[in-house]
Point group: C2
Chain length 395, copies 2
């Protein structure tokens, strides 16, 4: 491994759960960690100071940026000229960028996948683009995130075995190309013309694919780990399959990934998914649920989600979650939050987002503490006793 300043160590174990520390060029991340999604260089609904841990802040130690969005607008070249994504957006803590692949598969128009890469048209202006493993690596090098992801092929789930195999095998070949590109940029940045690497300490994570098929997952782990990434993510889950299937694939896959590297479950999930996947050895999570659902009026509580627009909250003077210490819950009632939401006030999105991110980040804080104390199983069973995925109409 190149000396990138990246390091990971496991501080404690409790069953399958791990408590760790991930060092990056922009600071240390305590794991298990949840990464708020900062799609276009901003976490929707809040500002950086809401995310930071000074005063009333949420204490987010790392955020995620979407390469697809930033590549299309304002463009990775502009961001590189500004000194990289951290400087451009004024966020000095760790950033992970995805490869752009997921958005190409979910957002872009008229995509065409070939061995070379993914050709697609921008959802913004219809312009034609080709995202290859090398290009996705270059773009992230220009963005200068602390952690870059390889381009992988995302397929719909459930997929037949053969489609999952084809995509998994292609993802491995793409991972090899992405790794070679990253290595060249890291070893000799001047040799890659047109690419300004803005973070010399950037590392690259591989992604395990293989759908819901244990055999394919095992093959993917073996081939991907052989390429020697700094760490590994599990991709292609939380795409509509039942939670038990997700858990089974994670339980099958995570233990095969090298113990001394962080394990990142991409795009997951509901709060109980986080607890269950920590139990199966996951260290990093990202998900749009807390932020997106906040903007739709759904607030996560210890009992489960509540829909703040419901008329039953019109005169409810209690906070969203009476046990919560976030800024929103310490100052505002469900009645006021409902009023803001039904009135279309921006403050609804902000206050709901602050609460939901606090719920996620605080759940992870509790998890980390419990692992250190050896009480993770107690936390896990208590969590499931109170939390239900279904909307809490009587909450």
């Amino acid at each position: 491994m190149a000396d990138t300043g990246f390091a990971f160590r496991v501080l404690a174990r409790d069953g399958g759960a791990r408590r760790g520390e991930m060092r990056t060029p922009h600071g240390v991340v305590q794991t298990p960690a949840f990464m708020p999604v900062g799609t276009q260089g901003a976490v929707k609904g809040v500002t950086h100071r809401d995310l930071e841990d000074l005063g009333d802040g949420l204490g987010a130690e790392i955020i995620l940026g979407n390469t697809y969005h930033l590549y299309l607008r304002p463009g990775d070249a502009l961001i590189a000229r500004a000194g990289g994504l951290h400087r451009f957006i004024g966020w000095n803590r760790p950033i992970l960028t995805d490869s752009g692949g997921y958005q190409v598969f979910s957002l872009a128009e008229r995509r065409r996948i070939s061995e070379d890469g993914a050709e697609f048209r921008s959802h913004l202006d219809g312009s034609l683009h080709l995202l290859t493993p090398e290009r996705a690596t270059d773009i992230q090098a220009q963005l200068g995130s602390d952690i870059a992801m390889v381009l992988d092929e995302c397929i719909a789930t459930p997929a037949p075995d053969d489609a999952a195999r084809v995509a998994m095998e292609r993802s491995v070949r793409w991972a090899a190309r992405a790794r070679a590109r990253w290595q060249r940029i890291t070893d000799d940045p001047a040799s890659v013309s047109g690419v300004v690497a803005t973070n010399p300490g950037q590392v690259q994570f591989g992604i395990i694919q293989g759908g819901v098929h244990p055999g394919l997952r095992t093959e993917s782990v073996q081939a991907t780990v052989a390429l020697g990434f700094e760490a590994y993510a599990i991709g292609g889950l939380s795409v509509g399959e039942p939670p038990d299937v997700t858990y089974d694939v994670v339980a099958h896959t995570a233990p095969q990934v090298p113990e001394d590297r962080p394990r990142y479950l991409m795009g997951s999930g509901m709060p109980d998914d986080l607890v269950e996947c920590v139990a199966r050895g996951i260290d990093l999570f990202d998900c749009v649920l807390p932020t997106r659902n906040a903007r739709n009026g759904q607030l996560f509580t210890r009992s489960g989600p509540i829909s703040i627009k419901n008329a039953r909250y019109a005169e409810d003077a209690s906070p969203p979650d009476p046990d919560c210490r976030c800024y929103t819950c310490r100052h505002f009632s469900r009645a006021y939050l409902r009023h803001l939401f039904v009135s279309g006030e921006m403050a609804a999105a902000t206050l709901n987002t602050v609460h939901n991110l606090h719920f996620y980040l605080d759940t992870l804080r509790s998890i980390r503490e419990a692992i250190m104390l050896g009480t993770f199983e107690k936390l896990r069973s208590e969590f499931h006793q109170t939390f239900s995925r279904r909307s809490q109409l009587n909450a």
Copy 2:
């Protein structure tokens, strides 16, 4: 005057400018002061903690709520049951509410004015409502703002002399009715059935009308002051007339209002309007410009407004206003703010609003300091030397 806990004293004078302190049931306001507009119980784009003065906050000492909006949704009765507007919205500092009249004239559908009041249909659902001087007083008593405004008749400017006279004289008659109602609620709240006054210390300001006609303004002052309000506002300005006309009417009207009461210029204005009207004896301002223009991408700077969406800022690493100490200017570049704006990110509205409100509140802070030091004229001339109302394309 009933013992409402309301008081005003002038601490210093510098020419026509006054430096004062206004005491209300929810705290003291240093004047001259600017009141951010919290239309529906929230200042658009920011949260209360952005407005407060802890840490990075803006130090807003008073905000304005719109009676028209709060009456229609969630309703003054609901807010009264919640303990009043302060408790409902979680803001513990002074609040001024307008009478609802201005929105009836600008927003509502099919309004019909009679001596009784203003009949109108809600812009939300078409429902029929009648806003009388008494009803506007009752609603504000239920809201429990610290300062209530009388219902007045707003007319388009410029208006012919006779239309301005008719509206001014009706406004005086309405002011008498509003005052009688306020007196009854204040003296014997139980006697007014169906009204729960949630702030026993609420006071009521009269409003001087008369368009741009000095004679009508003088008549309005005399008749309104004779009714004995805690303070007086100048209404019917900043409705499209040239700035010089505004200034002349203010210069004519303000000195006629009792010296020992704060003078409030309603709905004004651009930053240079504030400086010029302080020079003519105004103590209180409110305006949607800093918040509304922020959401439209216009940022106020010491040179004048800039339009952040302009392509010239795409790679501009400087803050919106290099001399500004607000959260936005200390952390973010014009390039990032432009990116957020063109990408439709909510953070654009928030960061722009934080800056614009800081610009307004900071301008007032400088004005207060200058009056104390006897250097207001110096500040005034320096302000005009740098600030231009026109958009600063080369800023």
